[in-house]
C-alpha cells in the first residue's frame, strides 16, 4: 500500500468462516500438462497447412497446365486467323483487280457489248425523246486497253475461261444446281418480243 488514502478495514462481524470445506465428493481427473495441451492442435494445424499447401500446389499445377494448354490453343487459333486473314486479303485483291475499269471494259467487249456515250433520254411523263438517238460508233479503243494495268497480266477474260469454271461453279453451288436455278428465273418472252423478268 503505497497510497495515502484512509482505509477502514471491515471487521469480521459474524465470524463466518471464509470458506466452508463441505464434505462433498472430490472430483479428480488427470489434467493434461501444458505441453500436452498444446501438442494436439499443433498436429492438426500442421496437417491442414500441409494439405492446404498441397491443394494449392495441385491447383496451381492444374491451372498452369490449363493455361499452357490454352496458350497452345490460342497459338493455333492465332495461326489460323493469320492464315484466314491472308486468304481474305488475297481474294479481295483478286476481286479488286478484276473490278478495275480496264478489266470490266475488256470483259464487256469480249462479251460483245459496245459502249455508246451518246446521251439520249426518254421522258416518262410525255414519252418525249430528249437528245438525238444514234447507234454506237464502235468499240471504245478495242480489246487492247490504252490505259495499262500491270496487275491484269495473265488474267483471262470471261470468254477465255474454260467451260464449267464459270461464275456458277466458282460461287460454290454445284453446276446442276446452278443451271436449275438459272432456268427458273429465265425471263418469259412476251408476245411483243420484250422480255419481262418474273418478279414477285
Amino acid at each position: 500500500m503505497s497510497d495515502n488514502l484512509a482505509r477502514v478495514l471491515r471487521p469480521n462481524w459474524d465470524n463466518t468462516p471464509a470458506s466452508v470445506p463441505a464434505h462433498d465428493t472430490r472430483h479428480i481427473e488427470i489434467v493434461a500438462t501444458r505441453d500436452q495441451r498444446q501438442a494436439r492442435p499443433r498436429i492438426v494445424y500442421a496437417l491442414s497447412a500441409v494439405a492446404g499447401m498441397a491443394t494449392i500446389v495441385v491447383i496451381q499445377l492444374l491451372l498452369s497446365v490449363g493455361i499452357s494448354q490454352g496458350a497452345y490453343e490460342v497459338s493455333r487459333l492465332e495461326a489460323s486467323q493469320v492464315e484466314l486473314g491472308r486468304t481474305a486479303e488475297s481474294v479481295t485483291e483478286d476481286l479488286v483487280r478484276i473490278s478495275s475499269p480496264q478489266s470490266l471494259a475488256a470483259n464487256a467487249e469480249a462479251l460483245g457489248m459496245v459502249s455508246n456515250s451518246n446521251p439520249v433520254y426518254l421522258r416518262l411523263s410525255d414519252g418525249a425523246v430528249l437528245g438525238a438517238p444514234a447507234s454506237a460508233s464502235g468499240s471504245q479503243g478495242g480489246a487492247a486497253s490504252l490505259v495499262p494495268n500491270a496487275l491484269l497480266a495473265g488474267v483471262p477474260l470471261v470468254t477465255q475461261l474454260p467451260q464449267g469454271s464459270g461464275q456458277g461453279a466458282s460461287v460454290g453451288g454445284s453446276t446442276a444446281d446452278t443451271s436449275a436455278r438459272t432456268a427458273a428465273v429465265t425471263p418469259k418472252t412476251a408476245p411483243n418480243g420484250i422480255p419481262t423478268p418474273a418478279t414477285r
Partner: protein, 592 residues
C-alpha cells in the same frame, strides 16, 4: 581435460572462420549477381526467350470519290535464306523420310519464284564467298501470299520470310499520273502519294513477347513497346470510271494524231472539284519502270505550262464585259494585220479582208486583231488584275507536287508586243488546270471556286481533316459571265469545228486554241499545242472539259482535240444525267 577444452575451442573457432568465409563468399557472389550484374543478366535471360517483332501500321489508301481504292497497302513477303545453313535436309512425306539436297530445294524455290535453281545456288555461293558465316541473303522480294504459302509448304529449314508491306494500285494507270507511286522501300515519290504523305504515312510499332523452347508464345508475355498507327485515307474528287474513259479517249486520239502528250481536265462547275484529270502518256504505278520517260510519270495537267492561245480570249472578253467597256454586240473592224500606235504588230492566223465583227464575231472567228481592239479598251494593269483574279501566275489550290504556276510577268514588265499578245493567250503561260479554272469561273456566273482534287484526309475514326476551303470569289459580274457564256455558245454553233464537236440535245459553250510551243530557249518549236475548253449544259453549266494536245504531228490544228472534247463531254453529261437543254441558245449576231 584442459587440453580437451582447448582443442574444442580451437575447433569451434576454426569452424566459425570457415563458416564466415563461406558466408562472405556467398554474400559477395549474391551482391554481384543480384545488384552489380542484375540488369545485364536479366536482359540476357530475357533475350534468350523474348522475341521482338515490328507491328506494321498500314499506309492509308487513296480513294476515289465513290470509295474505290486507287492505291492500297497489301502484305507482301520477302523470301530470304541462310547461306551458311544451306544443307540437305530430311522431309517427311506420305512415303516416309526423303532427303532433299540443296540443289533440289533451290530448284523447287526457283520454280515458285520465277527463277532458276541455278540462280538461287548462285545467290548462296556468292553470299558465302563474301562472308563464310553469311546468315542472310535475298531470294525474292515482295512475293504475294500464294507464292509465300507455296514456298512455306516446302518446309526448307534454311529459308526464312520477312513481311514487306507494299503498295498496290488496283486500277493500274487509271489516274496513275495523279496518284503517283512509292519506292520499293516505301518512300513516297510522286503525285498524291508524295503530296499527301503527311496524311497517308503510318508509324510502325514494336511488340515483344516471350516464347518457350517449342516456339509457342508464353501466355501473358506480350508487351507492346510502341503502338503501330495506321495512316489516314486520302479521299479524292476523282471518279475512277470516268477517269478511265477519258484516258482511253485521250490516248486513242493522241495516238491517232501522233501527239507528244496530252491532258484532259473535267471539273465540276458548281463545286470546283476535279472529277477527272487524264494524262497521256499514262503511267501505271504498279509498273513505273514501264514508262521510260521520267517526264511522263508526273501529271502534266499540273506540271506543264504552255501558252494557252485562243482559249484565253474568253478571259479577255469577260474582263472587257465586266468593266462595262463593251457588249457582245459591240462592233469593230478586224483587219488581217493590226498595227497599234505603240508599235506592236498583231496578225491573224490566215489572211483575210477587213471583217465587220461584233465581240461575238471576234470569238467565233478567233480574230487576234479584233480581240486586240477590244482588249486595248482596258489598261494593262486592269487586265493583269483580272488575270490574277482568274488564278493565273500562281499554282492552284490543289498544291500538287511540282505544280507549275505558269508565267505571268508583272504588267510593268510587259513589252509592247506582250501587251497585245496577252490579250489572245500569248506572252504568258498557263497549266491545263488554270485554263479549266478560267472556264469554271465563267460558267459559274463569275464566281471562281478553289480547284479541288482532295476532299480531305479521313482518319481511322471517320473524321475528315485537312478539308480544303471551298469559298468562292466573284471575279466578274454574273451578267458579264452570262454574256461570255452566250458568246461561247455562238462559237460552239458557228465556228469552223461546229460539226466535229456537236452533242445533240445539249447547249454547249466552247472555244478552241492553237498556240506555238516554246522550245525552252526563248524561241518556238515548229509544233503546236491545240486545245478546246468549254462547258455544258450552257443554260445551266455543270461541267467544264478542257482538252490539250501537244504537237499532234498528223493533224496540227484544234480539229485534233475537238473529237476528244465531244466524246468526253458526251460521256460526262450522260454519266451524271445532265438534263438536256430545253430552250435554244440566244442568237447573237457575229457580223454587222
Amino acid at each position: 581435460m584442459a587440453t580437451n577444452t582447448r582443442s574444442s575451442r580451437r575447433r569451434i573457432a576454426g569452424t566459425m572462420v570457415v563458416l564466415f568465409a563461406i558466408i562472405a563468399l556467398f554474400v559477395v557472389k549474391l551482391v554481384d549477381i543480384q545488384v552489380v550484374r542484375a540488369d545485364t543478366l536479366s536482359a540476357e535471360s530475357l533475350g534468350n526467350r523474348s522475341v521482338e517483332q515490328p507491328v506494321y501500321g498500314s499506309r492509308g489508301d487513296i480513294l476515289d470519290t465513290n470509295g474505290v481504292v486507287l492505291a492500297g497497302t497489301v502484305m507482301r513477303y520477302n523470301i530470304t535464306l541462310s547461306p551458311r545453313n544451306a544443307a540437305e535436309f530430311d522431309r517427311t512425306t506420305a512415303g516416309g523420310e526423303v532427303t532433299v539436297t540443296v540443289a533440289q530445294a533451290a530448284a523447287e524455290v526457283g520454280a515458285l519464284t520465277g527463277k532458276t535453281g541455278d540462280s538461287i545456288l548462285a545467290i548462296i555461293s556468292a553470299a558465302l564467298a563474301e562472308d563464310k558465316n553469311s546468315d542472310y541473303a535475298f531470294v525474292a522480294k515482295a512475293v504475294d501470299v500464294d507464292v509465300f504459302r507455296a514456298v512455306d509448304k516446302l518446309e526448307i529449314p534454311w529459308i526464312y520470310f520477312e513481311k514487306n508491306p507494299s503498295r498496290v494500285y488496283p486500277d493500274g494507270a487509271v489516274a496513275g499520273n495523279l496518284i503517283g507511286f512509292v519506292s520499293s522501300g516505301g518512300d513516297a515519290q510522286a503525285g498524291l502519294e508524295l503530296g499527301q504523305d503527311a496524311c497517308l504515312a503510318s508509324t510502325n510499332g514494336v511488340e515483344t513477347y516471350e516464347k518457350g523452347a517449342d516456339g509457342v508464345r508464353l501466355p501473358q508475355s506480350t508487351v507492346t513497346t510502341s503502338q503501330a498507327e495506321d495512316g489516314g485515307d486520302v479521299v479524292t474528287t476523282i471518279d475512277s470510271d470516268l477517269n478511265w474513259y477519258v484516258q482511253q479517249v485521250l490516248a486513242k486520239q493522241a495516238q491517232a494524231t501522233g501527239a507528244a502528250w496530252g491532258t484532259v481536265v473535267v471539273q465540276e462547275v458548281k463545286t470546283g472539284k476535279l472529277v477527272a484529270v487524264a494524262d497521256y502518256p499514262s503511267v501505271d504505278p504498279n509498273n513505273v519502270g514501264g514508262t521510260a520517260n521520267p517526264e511522263d510519270r508526273g501529271s502534266r495537267a499540273f506540271t506543264a505550262s504552255f501558252e494557252p492561245g485562243s482559249t484565253f480570249k474568253a478571259l479577255t472578253a469577260a474582263s472587257v464585259l465586266d468593266a462595262g467597256l463593251a457588249t457582245p454586240d459591240s462592233k469593230i473592224v478586224a483587219p488581217y494585220r493590226y498595227l497599234p500606235p505603240n508599235g506592236a504588230n498583231v496578225n491573224d492566223s490566215s489572211g483575210h479582208a477587213d471583217l465587220n465583227l461584233t465581240l461575238t464575231g471576234v470569238l467565233i472567228e478567233s480574230s487576234n486583231t479584233g480581240m486586240s481592239k477590244f482588249g486595248e479598251l482596258l489598261s494593262d494593269q486592269q487586265r493583269y488584275d483580272y488575270m490574277t483574279a482568274f488564278g493565273l501566275g500562281r499554282p492552284t489550290e490543289v498544291q500538287f507536287p511540282a505544280e507549275d504556276s505558269g508565267i505571268l510577268h508583272d504588267w510593268q514588265n510587259w513589252d509592247n508586243q506582250t501587251k497585245y499578245a496577252t490579250m489572245f493567250g500569248q506572252g504568258l503561260t498557263t497549266t491545263a488546270l488554270q485554263v479549266s479554272s478560267i472556264y469554271q469561273a465563267i460558267a459559274n456566273n463569275g464566281v471562281r471556286l478553289p480547284v479541288q482534287l482532295v476532299e480531305g484526309c479521313r482518319q481511322a475514326d471517320g473524321t475528315m481533316s485537312e478539308v480544303p476551303a471551298t469559298a468562292g470569289t466573284q471575279i466578274v459580274s454574273a451578267s458579264a459571265a452570262r454574256e461570255t457564256a452566250d458568246m461561247l455558245e455562238m462559237v460552239y454553233q458557228k465556228a469552223w469545228l461546229s460539226t466535229k464537236w456537236n452533242i445533240p440535245g445539249y447547249r454547249v459553250a466552247a472555244k478552241t486554241g492553237t498556240a506555238q510551243m516554246p522550245d525552252g530557249h526563248g524561241g518556238y518549236t515548229h509544233g503546236y499545242l491545240v486545245s478546246v475548253s468549254g462547258f455544258a449544259p450552257a443554260d445551266d453549266p455543270e461541267y467544264v472539259v478542257s482538252v490539250s494536245l501537244a504537237d499532234p504531228v498528223k493533224l496540227n490544228s484544234s480539229a485534233a482535240s475537238a473529237p476528244i472534247f465531244q466524246e468526253v463531254m458526251s460521256q460526262v453529261l450522260k454519266k451524271y444525267r445532265a438534263v438536256p437543254s430545253g430552250a435554244a441558245a440566244p442568237a447573237l449576231p457575229g457580223t454587222w
